[in-house]
């Protein structure tokens, strides 16, 4: 009791003392409160039968029915599996490529060459997914796509990619790497250039080859960065990059089984299906599970090595 009073007085005291600081933080505080925290209350929709006229809180409860529909129809498992597999594939390919590019670029000593290639490799990060969607269509479409132009030039039969679901995981993975390699390599290049130049010099004087330097100096130096990047991605393993999937795949129903992730499924049902209970269940399941995963992973990592923990 006394404790709470003391704390409340503490707050009032702090408020009086730092009124201006409270005022400075207030706009962002209320913006985030309204735009991010208030919608969290809507997660209760997962346990309700939503009716627009009754609103979020007036709609009747229906227990876990939404969840059982989601998973008994098989959709829940399919989109969960796809989301996880795509995230793993994209994590491995884009980080690996970024590490390779970063190691090689830092080994290059020609300044102009280095600058120009780095500029070019980072360029895709600045391009909107809509434009990437235009690229994908121009490269892969049946009638006029670049690949079929090349195939036809060599006298081959044009390929209808939009009828071949098996090709799409690789196409998506390729464009994900295309978009993010430059961005991620900037992070690794920063880690590598943070190495003391003397360490490398001393190693070469002692007769270390380039391979030994990379193996024993460069790669260990980027390990903390790599671990952080992997942890961040693992924390998002149930979140699909909606913008990427939606722009690359579009509304091609043929490809849904191979390319539908939780986010695209949710969006599609949100706009086409008036019964949003199941959709709300999918987002609830995604948000909660993501939160649990990141907390568990972080505490495990903290247990193993405090320095690698995210928070």
């Amino acid at each position: 009791m006394n404790d709470t009073i003391a704390r409340r007085e503490g707050f009032l005291h702090e408020f009086r003392k730092n009124k201006a600081l409270f005022a400075m933080a207030a706009p962002a505080f209320f913006l985030v409160l309204v735009m991010q925290y208030f919608p969290m209350a809507g997660l209760v929709l997962a346990f309700k039968q939503y009716r627009y006229d009754l609103g979020v809180f007036g709609s009747p409860w229906n227990g876990i029915q939404n969840f059982s529909y989601l998973f008994s129809s098989g959709t829940g498992w399919l989109i969960t599996r796809n989301t996880i597999l795509y995230n793993l594939l994209n994590l491995i390919t884009s980080q690996l490529l970024a590490v390779i590019v970063a190691v090689f670029i830092t080994e290059i000593h020609r300044r102009h060459f280095k600058k120009v290639t780095q500029t070019v490799i980072l360029l895709p990060y600045f391009i909107s997914w809509v434009v990437v969607g235009v690229f994908v269509f121009s490269i892969f479409n049946y009638e006029t796509g670049l690949i079929n132009t090349i195939v036809k030039t060599f006298g081959g039969e044009p390929i209808n990619f939009y009828m071949k679901p098996a090709a799409w995981p690789w196409i998506i993975c390729a464009f994900n790497a295309w978009k993010w390699t430059g961005y991620n390599s900037v992070i690794y290049i920063a880690a590598i250039t943070g190495i003391d130049a003397e360490v490398n010099e001393a190693a070469s004087i002692d007769g270390a080859t380039i391979f030994q330097r990379i193996r024993y100096i460069t790669l260990p130096s980027i390990r903390p960065t790599l671990v952080t990047m992997i942890l961040l991605q693992v924390g998002r393993i149930l979140r699909g990059d909606f913008e990427m999937f939606y722009q690359i795949v579009g509304n091609n129903g043929q490809l849904y089984n191979a390319t539908d992730v939780i986010d695209t499924y949710v969006f599609r049902s949100l706009v086409t299906n008036p019964d949003i209970g199941m959709t709300a269940a999918a987002t609830f399941y995604q948000s909660v599970l993501c939160f649990v995963i990141i907390m568990v992973v972080n505490s495990v990592v903290k247990h193993i090595d405090e320095d690698y923990a995210l928070f």
């Binding site: 400075m24 590019v101 070019v120 006029t144 909606f242």
Partner: protein, 308 residues
């Protein structure tokens, strides 16, 4: 290309004596970097050459990396009736300028507060913002809340508010604020300056690189946004550029699908090259500005990767 890079490799200035295997290493090094760089550029080459190719050529031969038959037809169509595009440009510029400006103010003020060591709730406040990266309401409840309770449907605020504040930018900005010596703040206050005065005349002028970095990230986010427009905008007059591009692309695709099914040719409309020309018009400003502001983005990405 390969021969060229070999030349570079063997003449690469380095303190190490180049053994045979190091030469091979440098050769591979240049080769891989060149290949990755080319792969990054290919879609842009396709985009530009396709937009300058005549529609008949595309329909007959398909897209190539070089313009088969040069034509500016697509651009002529865009600029003949520029109303739609100009309006979309206007919307994009408006949301970018307003959102970036207000977002910068919010981010900087908040970053200043959470970096003040004498502010008791700085950690609680940081956690309040950080928590949104761990947990959120998800697409459905956010959508319903914005529409039913905030009435953002078809309201330009729906394009501005969601992207205005971001924890990632807050943490980057805090790093910039931390470079300002706290003794400056303290001495300003001793001289009788209030908190606001101290912030605006002492701290803010020292944050120029931080302002440039975060401002550019915010602006890029607004310029490339189409997702919020897709969810919340109904009237075409309020479409930003990227979403306008998307909807035109959908229309021409739908049109050609219908035409193909009905066996009609819509040869008067250069739909293929038009799409690419639109993409060039929408992306052009970014690609032109990018080389000059690249260093700010690199600084931001680097700082952002160091966990805060």
């Amino acid at each position: 290309m390969a021969a060229n890079s070999k030349d570079m490799a063997s003449s690469a200035p380095t303190k190490i004596r180049l053994s045979g295997s190091s030469k091979t290493f440098y050769f591979i090094c240049y080769l891989i970097v060149i290949i990755v760089a080319i792969l990054c550029l290919v879609p842009f080459i396709l985009l530009i050459s396709g937009s300058f190719t005549s529609e008949q050529w595309i329909r007959f031969h398909g897209f190539g990396l070089l313009p088969g038959e040069f034509s500016t037809e697509a651009y002529k169509i865009i600029f003949k009736t520029p109303g739609r595009i100009l309006r979309a440009y206007g919307v994009s510029i408006f949301i970018t300028v307003v959102g970036t400006f207000v977002g910068l103010i919010l981010t900087t003020l908040t970053a200043y507060v959470i970096s003040r060591k004498d502010f008791r709730y700085r950690n609680a406040l940081s956690f309040f913002f950080y928590f949104t990266t761990l947990f959120n309401g998800g697409m459905v409840s956010t959508y319903i809340f914005y529409i039913q309770y905030l009435h953002l449907k078809d309201n330009l605020l729906a394009l501005i508010l969601p992207g205005m504040f971001n924890v990632f930018y807050l943490l980057i900005m805090r790093t910039f604020v931390n470079t300002v010596p706290f003794s400056l703040v303290e001495s300003a206050k001793l001289d009788g300056a209030g908190e606001w005065r101290t912030f605006f005349s002492i701290v803010l002028p020292l944050l120029k690189p931080g302002l440039a970095t975060i401002g550019l990230f915010l602006a890029l986010g607004y310029w490339n946004d189409w997702y919020n427009a897709m969810l919340y905008m109904n009237t075409e007059e309020r479409y930003p550029l990227q979403y306008m591009l998307y909807s035109i692309q959908q229309q021409t695709q739908a049109l050609s699908r219908i035409a193909a099914q009905a066996g009609i040719t819509v040869s008067n409309l250069p739909s293929n090259s038009l799409k690419l020309a639109m993409a060039v018009v929408a992306t052009g400003p970014i690609v032109i500005v990018y080389p000059f502001v690249q260093k700010y983005f690199i600084a931001g990405i680097t700082i952002g990767s160091v966990k805060g």
